[in-house]
Symmetry: C2
Subunit: 492 residues, 2 copies
C-alpha cells in the first residue's frame, strides 16, 4: 500500500504480478513454480467452485476422487496422450527417507526405490479410465458422469501466478457414454456450461469454438474451448472440453454390452477449468487502482468505512451500521464493516479499492445527522449521497446488478474493438503488432500453415468459432482456398 | 448384491472391507495404497466437508492453499517433526520423462534430476510456517487463522480403505497467535469443534482428552484429541488438535513485534480430520445388512420405491410421488425416486438398505387406493403404514430427527457398556481379550510403562480424558502412585 501499482499502459506484466501480490491473492512459494493461494485469493476460487459445482450437479454429474499418482506405464497406453503429457512431470522414485549417515538431516533411502516410478498426475484420464474398466459392463452402467476437484502438476519452466504454475487446482470431468453422439453432446454441453459461467459470473465474454488439430488435447478427437480477450490484447484459453472418441476406452479396454447384446467400446469426454480462471478474471477487468471484481464472485460485495473522531462517534456509527448490515445480509449481500482503529479512512479506501470490493459505503457524523450514506462504486469510481429515507437494500441490490452488467458490457465492447477482420498476411502482422486482439482471417486448414504463422508471428489459432460463417476466401498465408474465418491471437 | 455381507460377529474386518466396496463407497486403485473414492462415498465426504467448513468459518478461519511439495531440508528444521514424518514419504527426484531410447514407453530422464528432492506433503507445518515468516511482522498481523483442504501422502505399508491409505484427503488448520494462552485456547476450541461435529452430525460419541507424550504429534507440546469406540471394541482416533508452542516459529524464525515493541516468537496450533472419518462412521453404526447412515450426513435421506405392474401403474404412482417429493424437498429433505425398470422392488430394497438410506417409502396400487404409504426406517427396520391424511413432511422430518438421536443413543450405550474400570493388570489383560473396549486404569505417567503395556497387550493410551476425576491410585503395571485414570484400548 506504500505506493501505487505500476500502470497497465507502461508494463502490463508487472502490473499483473504486483496486483496479484498486493491484493493478497497469491504469492510464489519456496517450492519452484508452486504458488501459495492466500485467503483472499482462495475465497474467489471458493466462489467459483461453488457455482461450477452447482452447474455440474444440475447437469447430472457427481464428484469422486482418484489417486494423485499415476504408474508411469499408464501414460504410454494412449499413443497421443503420452506425447502430450509424459514430458515435464514430477516423478516419484522413492518412498522413504533416512537419517543421513554422514551427518545432519535426512537423505533418500536408496533401498526404498519403487519398482515402477509414479507420476504426479498432470491430468487423470489414464488412471480414471483404468478404473472405469471395472465399473462398466452393461449399457445399464452408462453414462458415467463424474467430476473431480483436484491438484495437478505440470513441470513448467516459466511460471506465472495463476496463469501457469507447476501445481494448480482444477476440476476435471471424465464421462463415459454408450454412443458417439451422446459423448459429443456432453462435450458441447460442458463447453456451454463453462461459457455460461464465464459470461454470467465472471462477466467475461468468451468465444466458443473448436481447436485446430494441432492445438487439440493429446488423445482427443475434438477439443471445444472458450477463449477470452485480456486488456493487453492477448487471448486466454479459459476452459476446454474434449471429445475423446473411443481412444481411452481402447487403451484401457473399457467395453460394455449394448441393449442388443453386442460388446462395444465406450465413448468418452473430459473437460476442465482451473485456478487460471482467477488470472483471467484479474486481467479482464482490473485497472490501475487494483482489482475490479464482478459482484457475483466478490468475496466481499460491500465494505462500510466509518469516518469518525474518537470512540464515542464510532459507537454511534457502529449502531447505525449494524442496522444497515442486517438489512443487506437479509438480501444475501455480503458486507464487511471495517472498524479497525489502526488505520485511517483514506488508507482503508485505497485498500478496498485495491482488493476490488464492488461497493463502498462511508458514514460519518454528518451522514448520521442527514440520515444519509455515501455510496461509491468500484468499477466507475462514481460516488453519490444516498438518503436512507429510501431502502438501502434495494438500492445496493440494483447497484450490484448494474455493476455486474456494466463490467460485462465494458469487456464485451473492448473485445469487439479488439477483434479485427483481415484479408492479407501484411495486414495480419500489422494488426498483431500495432493493435493486438483477435484477428479473424482465412486459413487453408493445414497444420503446416498454422505452424509457419506461429513461428513468424507468435500468433496461434485460438479457435474455429462455432458461429463461423460460411464464406469463401483465400488463406492469408498460402493463398489456398478457405471456407471460413478462424480466430488468431497471441495468447497466454 | 449377489449374496449377503459377511457377518460382523464372524469376521468384522472382512465385513468392513466388503461393505465399503459393495456400498460403492471406495475401492483400491491400481496405485498401491491409494484409494478411489467413488461418487456415493465422496458425497458423504462432501456432506462432512460442508458442515466442518461452516464451523471453521464461524470460528473465524479462512481457507487457503499451500504447495503439495515440501523441500526435503524443510522437514529437518524442527527436530521432533523430522523424526515423526521424514520416514515413509513419497519422494520426487526428477522432473522429466523421455522416450525410452531402447524401445517402447517412457523412462525417467537422468538429466532432469532435482537439486534438492521434494517430498509429497505428509502434513504441511513446515511449508506453511516458512510462508508465515513473511506474513507476520507485527501483533496487528495476528492471529492468522487458516485452514486448507488438501490431499496428503504417507507411505503406509499396510493400508485399509478410508482408515489408513497412502494418500488421503483431509483438512489441516494452521494458526499463529501472539500469546501462549490464545494458542492453547484455539487448540481446545478446535478439539471441541471436532467433538461437536462427531456427536451432532456423525451421531458418534467421543471422549475428549489429551495424548500422552509418546502419542503426541511430532513437534507439538500438547495434542488434544477425540476418541471414538467402534463396534468391535477397538478405539479410533477421530481428530487431533495440536498446541505447537513456539516450536515451528523458532524453526522457521517467525517473530512479531508486540504492542510493547518487543520482538517475540509466535505461538502455533495445527488441527486436522480426514477421510478416515468415513471409516469411523461406517464402523460406528452399520450392521450386517449394510450401512446405517445418520440422516444429517446421508447423501440421500429418503428413497421412494414404487411397487407396480406395468407402465400405467408406474405412471399413476409417479404422479403421487412427484407431489410427495415436492413437499419433502421444501423441508430440505433429500429424496430419491427409484423408478428404474431394470430392477425389482426386492432388489431395490436390499440395495438401499446396503447403502444406508435412513428412510424408505414404498407405494403400490393399494396404497394409492387407501391414500397411504409404507414407511421403513433403516436403523431399526421398523415399518409402518402411514395415512397421507396427515402431513408426510412433518412425519419424515420428525422421523429423521428420531433416527439421528436413536443412532447416537445406541452408540452411546454401546460405548458405556464397552468401557470398563479395572484396578489390576490381570483384569486389564482379561478385559482386553474378552470384552475389548475402553479400559479405564491408573498409570504412573511414564513412557516406559506405557511402552511395556503396549508391547505386552497391544493396547495404547488413547487419551487422558479432559473430564478425568482426581483419584489417588496405583499404576496397574508398576504399582507406582497415580492421580487419575487414563483410557486404554486397542485401536485402529
Amino acid at each position: 500500500m506504500s505506493k501505487g501499482l505500476p500502470k497497465r499502459s507502461e508494463d502490463y506484466s508487472l502490473w499483473y504480478n504486483e496486483l496479484v501480490k498486493r491484493a493478497d491473492l497469491a504469492e510464489n512459494s519456496p517450492v519452484r513454480g508452486c504458488m501459495v493461494i492466500k485467503p483472499y485469493g482462495f475465497s474467489i476460487w471458493e466462489k467459483m467452485q461453488a457455482e461450477l459445482d452447482r452447474m455440474f450437479k444440475e447437469t447430472g454429474h457427481s464428484n469422486a476422487y482418484f489417486p494423485l499418482f499415476i504408474p508411469k506405464s499408464y501414460l504410454s497406453k494412449e499413443a497421443d496422450h503420452v506425447e502430450g503429457f509424459a514430458k515435464e512431470c514430477a516423478v516419484v522414485t522413492h518412498y522413504r527417507l533416512m537419517n543421513d549417515p554422514n551427518g545432519k538431516g535426512v537423505v533418500v533411502d536408496p533401498d526404498a526405490k519403487l519398482e515402477e516410478e509414479l507420476i504426479v498426475r498432470p491430468t487423470s484420464e489414464t488412471v480414471i479410465w483404468s478404473t472405469y474398466k471395472n465399473w462398466v459392463q452393461s449399457y445399464r452402467d452408462l453414462p458415467l458422469l463424474i467430476n473431480q476437484w483436484a491438484n495437478v502438476v505440470r513441470w513448467e519452466m516459466r511460471t506465472r501466478l495463476f496463469l501457469r504454475t507447476a501445481e494448480f487446482l482444477w476440476q476435471e470431468g471424465h464421462t463415459a457414454h454408450a454412443t458417439k453422439q451422446e459423448a459429443i453432446d456432453e462435450s458441447i454441453q460442458m463447453m456451454n456450461v463453462y461459457a455460461h459461467f464465464a459470461e454470467e459470473f465472471m462477466a467475461m465474454p468468451v468465444v466458443r469454438g473448436v481447436k485446430s488439430a494441432s492445438e487439440r488435447f493429446a488423445g482427443a478427437l475434438e477439443t471445444y474451448c472458450i477463449e477470452a480477450m485480456m486488456q493487453d490484447g492477448k487471448a486466454l484459453q479459459a476452459g476446454t472440453s474434449h471429445f475423446l472418441g473411443q481412444n481411452f476406452a481402447k487403451a484401457f479396454e473399457v467395453k460394455f454390452t449394448s441393449k442388443e447384446g453386442v460388446q462395444e467400446y465406450v465413448w468418452g469426454t473430459s473437460w476442465g477449468v482451473s485456478t487460471r480462471l482467477i488470472g483471467a478474471l484479474i486481467m479482464a477487468h482490473s485497472d490501475d487502482q487494483g482489482l475490479v471484481l464482478p459482484p457475483k464472485l466478490a468475496p466481499i460485495q460491500v465494505v462500510i468505512v466509518p469516518i469518525y473522531k474518537g470512540e464515542e462517534q464510532l459507537q454511534v456509527i457502529a449502531e447505525k451500521v449494524t442496522e444497515l448490515t442486517k438489512g443487506l445480509r437479509k438480501k444475501g449481500i455480503s458486507v464487511k464493516f471495517d472498524d479497525r482503529d489502526t488505520y485511517k479512512p483514506g488508507f482503508k479506501f485505497a485498500e478496498w479499492e485495491l482488493k476490488g470490493v464492488p461497493v463502498r459505503l462511508a458514514i460519518g457524523p454528518k451522514d448520521l445527522e442527514n440520515n444519509s450514506v455515501e455510496i461509491a462504486r468500484r468499477d466507475t469510481g462514481e460516488k453519490e449521497l444516498f438518503s436512507l429515507e429510501n431502502s438501502l437494500e434495494d438500492k445496493i441490490e440494483a447497484l450490484l446488478d448494474d455493476i455486474q452488467a456494466s463490467i460485462y458490457k465494458k469487456a464485451y465492447d473492448f473485445r469487439a474493438e479488439k477483434t479485427t477482420v483481415v484479408n492479407s498476411y501484411e495486414e495480419f502482422k500489422q494488426i498483431l503488432d500495432e493493435k493486438a486482439g483477435f484477428v479473424s482471417a482465412h486459413w487453408d486448414g493445414t497444420a503446416e500453415t498454422e505452424e509457419k504463422i506461429k513461428e513468424e508471428t507468435k500468433a496461434t489459432i485460438r479457435c474455429i468459432p462455432l458461429d463461423q460463417q460460411a464464406e469463401e476466401g483465400n488463406c492469408i498465408y498460402s493463398g489456398q482456398p478457405s471456407k471460413g474465418r478462424v480466430l488468431f491471437a497471441r495468447a497466454y
